[in-house]
């Protein structure tokens, strides 16, 4: 990994908002430009050379995703618009037809809106019950709390592998075992995790997994839905049209293609899928395990320094990822973000799409720092220096 691989880092910028989206290496950008410049045809359509090349490049990425998450079959990988669309497909294309009134779905108050709102909507439509597994005093999920929340009616457990505000890593292997024993479907939101910590969907007994390319060095507009073959095979498409049917007659006779193509109606985001493939190459080259170790190191380094600053409150010192949620005493989080922006430090202020977390933190907003593999200790030193001088904050923001 070289910082020079990332054109954005050539700007005078300290980018600590990787939870929102990550920067893109030149190889990913070049790969997409190459598609647009040299073989810009549609997928699954043509009988000419460049079109065949599109198919080959596009389908190749399925194999790369398979390797990344270790699923059993390449057909279990569906390209979507992103984690949000993947989660909506799981809820409205599968769960809606399987779950019955009063069946229970377990989530937590730390989940992202995209793993809450689809469930709440389905509850309105078919009367399932959404239950929140209580979190411990560090706002983290424990296995005992999870176990206590399971009842005879629990049919689904849907959790982020890593949460986007607290950054705690959920013990997927143990949860997967519990789900297997109790015949519960285990849905994993991998938006914050797939590029940060290894996942093995077979070993962890994951039924469905959702994630976005843009949070893993790839382009916007594309993501992945993984589903275990037997489940995915009976998922209802949410979109019908070109590309996903073998034949149709005007009288309504239709024959759909097999998965995954059946679930990818319309022209897909071809350049983006191919770009995602390059991003996966980049990540696997470094090793996801190494990325995780490095992020945890950065976080420890930052926490040690930030703890020395008296007027800073950190909400998640212990979680084992690259995410830090904090506030400066008496300063609204957005003002802190504007202050840091003055020094070209990018952090995010707000509720981070996990609105219900306010019930847990008893605060509405935090500043979030989220590290990634190109961040450095020197950048953290700069952040610390700026935060140490935060008595000047209103000279900057007002």
């Amino acid at each position: 990994m070289n910082r020079s691989d990332f054109p954005m880092l050539q700007n005078d910028l300290i980018y600590f908002d990787n939870g929102a989206t990550t920067l893109k290496p030149q190889t990913v950008i070049d790969e997409m430009v190459d598609y647009y410049s040299n073989y810009s045809a549609n997928a699954h359509r043509g009988d000419y050379d460049v079109s065949l090349k599109v198919d080959k490049m596009y389908e190749n990425v399925r194999d790369k995703v398979q390797k990344l998450i270790n699923c059993a079959k390449r057909e279990e990988v569906v390209f979507t618009k992103g984690a949000t669309e993947s989660l909506n497909m799981i809820v409205f294309g599968y769960m809606k037809y399987i779950l019955k009134e009063n069946d229970e779905v377990l989530i937590t108050k730390a989940e992202h809106a995209s793993n809450v709102l689809p469930w709440l909507q389905l509850a309105k439509e078919i009367g399932i019950k959404i239950k929140y597994i209580p979190l411990d005093e560090q706002h983290e999920l424990t296995l005992s709390s999870l176990q206590k929340s399971i009842t005879d009616k629990t049919k689904v457990i849907s959790l982020a592998h890593i949460t986007n505000v607290v950054g705690d890593v959920r013990p997927l292997e143990e949860i997967g075992k519990i789900c297997k024993a109790k015949k519960i479907l285990f849905v994993v939101d991998g938006a914050q995790s797939v590029a940060h910590i290894p996942i093995d969907v077979q070993k962890y007994n994951v039924a469905f997994l959702a994630f976005s390319a843009h949070k893993m060095l790839g382009p916007t507009g594309v993501g992945v839905l993984y589903g275990r073959y037997d489940l995915l095979n009976i998922m209802h498409p949410l979109q019908y049209g070109g590309g996903m049917n073998n034949l149709f007659e005007i009288d309504g006779t239709v024959e759909y293609k097999n998965i995954p193509t059946r679930l990818e109606a319309g022209t897909p985001p071809i350049a983006e899928v191919i770009g995602l493939g390059k991003a996966i190459d980049y990540l696997l080259d470094i090793g996801i395990d190494n990325i995780h170790k490095y992020e945890v190191q950065l976080k420890e380094y930052a926490i040690n320094k930030l703890e020395q600053i008296p007027n800073i409150k950190i909400y998640n010192k212990h979680s084992q990822s690259g995410i830090i949620a904090f506030n400066i005493d008496g300063v609204f989080s957005q003002d802190t973000a504007v202050y840091l922006n003055h020094y070209h430090i990018c952090v995010r202020a707000g509720n981070h799409c996990a609105k219900i977390l306010k019930d847990e933190f008893k605060i509405n907003n935090t500043c979030r720092i989220s590290f990634y593999l190109y961040n450095t200790k020197a950048e953290i030193d700069t952040l610390v220096k700026v935060l140490e001088q935060s008595e000047n904050i209103f000279k900057i923001v007002l």
């Binding site: 957005q334 003002d335 707000g350 007002l398």
Partner: protein
């Protein structure tokens, strides 16, 4: 206005805003406003009698600019007629949006005359005024 006075006035109104906390009184017309691009969330309640602003109160959590603008707005508008308030609001919006405005009529609100230099903060400075406009619209409808 020199930058130090300007900042001190805003800071004073951010840290010790006037009329914070809503009253449980049905005579107030209330709206909730939040800024689309950020996370400010304020509730503003206005009591009007005989076409005069008798009281304005607010509650909620917001950034230094939104909160101080709310507080200074309240001080400026108390006791004014609705017509006068509309005139002030219009001139204030013009100031924030870099159009012609009457400095005299704005009084202390002139502290925001350089907010346009930080375009992403304009919305914060306009937030309480957007809420107020909603309330004035409601009143007109009820007439």
């Amino acid at each position: 206005m020199d930058p130090i006075t300007r900042r001190e006035l805003m800071l004073e109104h951010y840290q010790n805003p006037v009329h914070k906390g809503l009253l449980n009184d049905k005579e107030y017309i209330k709206v909730n406003t939040h800024n689309e691009s950020c996370i400010d969330n304020l509730e503003i309640a206005v009591k009007i009698e005989d076409g005069i602003i008798k009281d304005i109160r607010f509650d909620g959590e917001a950034c230094a600019i939104s909160t101080s603008a709310t507080s200074i707005m309240i001080e400026t508008l108390l006791g004014k007629s609705i017509d006068k308030v509309k005139e002030i609001v219009q001139n204030y919006e013009n100031m924030i949006n870099e159009e012609n405005y009457d400095e005299e009529i704005l009084g202390q609100l002139n502290v925001y005359n350089e907010t346009y230099l930080q375009p992403n903060r304009k919305k914060c400075a306009l937030l309480p005024f957007d809420a107020l406009k909603q309330i004035l619209k409601q009143i007109e409808k009820e007439k």
